[in-house]
Symmetry: C2
Subunit: 216 residues, 2 copies
DNA sequence: TTATAATCAGGTGTTTTTACGTGACTGTAT
DNA sequence: ATACAGTCACGTAAAAACACCTGATTATAA
């Protein structure tokens, strides 16, 4: 692999192989930009970074990956390689995800349906200024950061309960599976009803899916 | 745009612009293959086809698109342009979606996480043989086509009920909203429980989301 | 130390959901 | 005409879900 001293070096992490390889091809076509690393998940990316002699300047990280997702990956990377600029890449532009990735150390959040020209521009700006935010994301950012404290916090047990609750199991069965009293389970239920602002188990389950607290 | 007489001409439809353009770049790099059309949705694709003088040999269609989704698009295309080979492109490999797209006229179903080499091979084979199916899809195909008749059929009222059931409303409220007896509603519930093979309203709601009978 | 919050657990009673059986009324295909 | 599938409706009883209350324990902060 030939690289120029002047090149802006990029690493990619995305579980969709076709997109990953395509994007690499596209970026290699950009002026002065070179993809030096392609990973299929966060773990893959980290192990590649450990053995490489040539670190990238910018890493594009898909938010939804198996094995190690975007948030975990970004958190680890921002600690271990604070000089590398991290960019979140996602299909969705929901508030919570954006906040999550920014807090995890990303200096930008790009949607997968942007135009290649904007990506090119974004990479250049991130290299020059250290950040880039698309208009659509930007206009919400202040509001997002203000509401940051209103974020949803579930305890470990509440999260586990929520997962079990998104099934055909009864609360009794869940209590038994979690080795807790039915009444404790009932407490979790009430707490989550309030936090998610719902009035029934169905509402809770669907809201959990919407907020991506659980995946289908 | 320069094309060679020998080139295999490809059209693409995908709502994620970055993927669309990247994929085009990738495919253009394949030997003897040329992307001559890129559309962001089914409607866009159809209107481009109507005004073009140069029809593609193969069209890659994303299953999930806004405005006009993959299934509708494939159905229309296979009627209007029976000579063009249609290929479904999707992130998910769930049975129902595959069946849907094959029935809509696609001669192949490819996952977005395949390796570029396999895509290249697939395109060549589709041009030569008229079809291509990846191993993972292929091994299920016979089973899928057998179970085809077991497809899910909900009456209009059952569908409406299902939508209402995916909310915080009680069955009583749903009955009132649908101007039906609670007992009738109860009948819908039982029928859908059997059809979706679930044992509770939560299971029903989540399964409905999984099967994309309802959207969030 | 006291206060504060988080977690776990129990009690009581109501409402909702679920299971199962029955029958009437359509339309329509044989 | 008969048989069949689909829709709507009612009844009963048990199980599950929900609301609102209390108190014990533990950890952490003021």
């Amino acid at each position: 692999m030939e690289t120029n001293n002047q090149d802006l070096l990029i690493a990619l992490a995305d579980d969709q192989q076709l997109f990953l390889r395509s994007l690499a091809t596209l970026i290699d076509g950009f002026d002065g930009k070179k993809v030096i690393m392609e990973a299929l998940n966060g773990k893959d990316l980290l192990s590649q970074l450990e053995i490489t002699l040539l670190l990238p300047h910018i890493i594009l990280i898909d938010v939804n990956m198996p094995i190690m997702n975007g948030e975990e990956t970004a958190l680890l990377l921002s600690k271990k390689y604070p000089d590398i600029k991290l960019v979140a890449l996602s299909m969705k532009d929901d508030d919570r995800t954006i906040i999550k990735m920014i807090k995890a150390g990303c200096c930008s959040y790009l949607l997968k349906d942007i135009h290649p020209n904007e990506l090119d521009k974004a990479l250049t700006e991130i290299n020059n200024n250290g950040y880039y935010n698309s208009d659509t994301i930007n206009k919400n950012l202040r509001r997002l950061l203000c509401h940051d404290e209103a974020e949803l916090k579930l305890s470990a047990n509440e999260q586990l309960f929520l997962h079990h609750a998104c099934s055909d199991m009864t609360y009794k069965e869940i209590a038994s599976k979690m080795c807790l009293s039915e009444k404790t389970i009932d407490g979790y239920r009430e707490a989550i009803f309030v936090k998610l602002n719902v009035k029934s188990r169905v509402g809770m389950a669907l809201e959990a899916v919407r907020l991506q607290l659980i995946s289908l």
